[in-house]
Amino acid sequence: MKNIWWKVLAVVIMTYVIFWGLLGPVPRQPILNESIRNVSFHVPLWFAMIILLVTSVIYSVRYLRKGRMDDDLIAVEFANTAILFGVLGCLTGAIWANFTWGDPWPNDPKLNSVAVGMLMYMAYLILRGSFDDEQRRARISAVYNIFVFAVFIPLIFILPRMTDSLHPGNGGNPAFGKYDMDNNLRMVLYPGVIGLTLIGVWITQLRVRLRRVKVAMDE
């Protein structure tokens, strides 16, 4: 029970983010209007997803270096949580896009890149399912995880910036921070990133423990 402080912190931060994100003062922008509040929820989901994916890759690398099965368990669960966050990010984005761009899934390079990225990580899960031998599954899916991450990062960060996009910060558009953000919004956005990352780690920790119990029961 001594390591409970960060869970308390996560709950406190998320309570603050949800209430202050919905009630706090926000900048007035044409077209965006009140929907700018979604910045506090939609954007942190993607930040948290990237952080979780980086952690997953780190554990995959660790597995390849040290060969401990536990690292593989942790890597796959971080990837699972990241996929969950990605789906939630798509959903919150679709709600937002529906009201500001007039279409829940506009033809935007960033959206399409993310959809392809989700396909890659679904393929990762399919790949894991097609092995019987545990050692083999762990090693090969770790290789694929590292490979996919190296393709995913240019796909989501570099390619959309080279074409026209509706998203801020792409296709020569200035990033969101340039003129849409103000300090009130930042005070919710950054805690949101920390809070959601902590929640993600918490979910992952629970799932990893569940897996460890299952492994122990099988033996």
Partner: protein, 224 residues
């Protein structure tokens, strides 16, 4: 250094010999791309020269993508595990994967040029800047072989390699494919070449990333 180059040469020679002795596989791939082109030609009611440039271009690259996946999928499957183990005692894994990549590049170049020839022959050739289009084909052949060789190595270890090959390679090849489509569309429209350099640079950068990853990750792959 010269020793390892010589070993690479021997491995490459082995790949070509193997292909030459099993000519049905090579002929099968050549026939695959020709008949795929012909199926597309007939599906568009054999209307020569009537496809819009964007459809013409996309159709060609999709045919090439499917051919590449089929051709490269077998690069690790066709040799039995015992024989592969024997190679690994002779050469380092980096040399093996590099020789496979080089061999697949040559194969893909042959398939891409043949495919382009047949495709332009039956469906008409609206390309305004042919040299640039051929550059796009060369870049595509290199890129496909680099990224698909690692994926085929991954897929060959699993239970159903053929399905898995498609599932794993479609999303991972997509960034490359999109850039290639842009370059070849520029060539098709005969735009000034300076427009395409940025995309050419991106394709080369992706190739380098994937090549380095293949060299780093392959040693872990073959051990299982």
């Amino acid at each position: 250094m010269t020793e390892s180059v010589r070993q690479m040469g021997a491995l490459m020679r082995k790949e070509f010999l193997l292909e030459w002795r099993q000519r049905y596989a090579l002929n099968g791939m050549l026939l695959y791309i020709v008949s795929a082109v012909f199926v597309c030609y007939l599906s568009f009611s054999a209307r020569r020269g009537q496809l819009t440039p964007i459809v013409w271009n996309a159709l060609f690259w999709i045919i090439l993508l499917f051919t590449a996946i089929n051709a490269i999928a077998k690069s690790f499957v066709q040799e039995r595990a015992g024989r592969q183990l024997y190679y690994y005692t002779l050469a380092s894994p980096q040399q093996i994967v590099l020789s496979k990549i080089l061999y697949n590049t040559v194969l893909m170049l042959a398939l891409a040029f043949l495919g382009f020839g047949v495709y332009a022959f039956v469906l008409g050739n609206p390309v305004k800047d042919v040299p640039l289009y051929l550059v796009a084909l060369v870049l595509g052949a290199i890129g496909f072989s680099v990224s698909l060789t690692l994926v085929s190595g991954i897929a060959s270890k699993a239970e159903n390699p053929s399905t898995l090959m498609a599932v794993l390679s479609f999303p991972t090849i997509l960034p490359l494919l999109l850039e290639l489509l842009k370059i070849s569309k520029n060539a098709l429209d005969g735009l000034d070449r300076s427009v395409s350099w940025k995309e050419v640079g991106t394709v080369l950068a992706i190739d380098v990333i994937v090549l380095v990853l293949s060299l780093l990750l392959f040693p872990f792959l073959w051990r299982s």
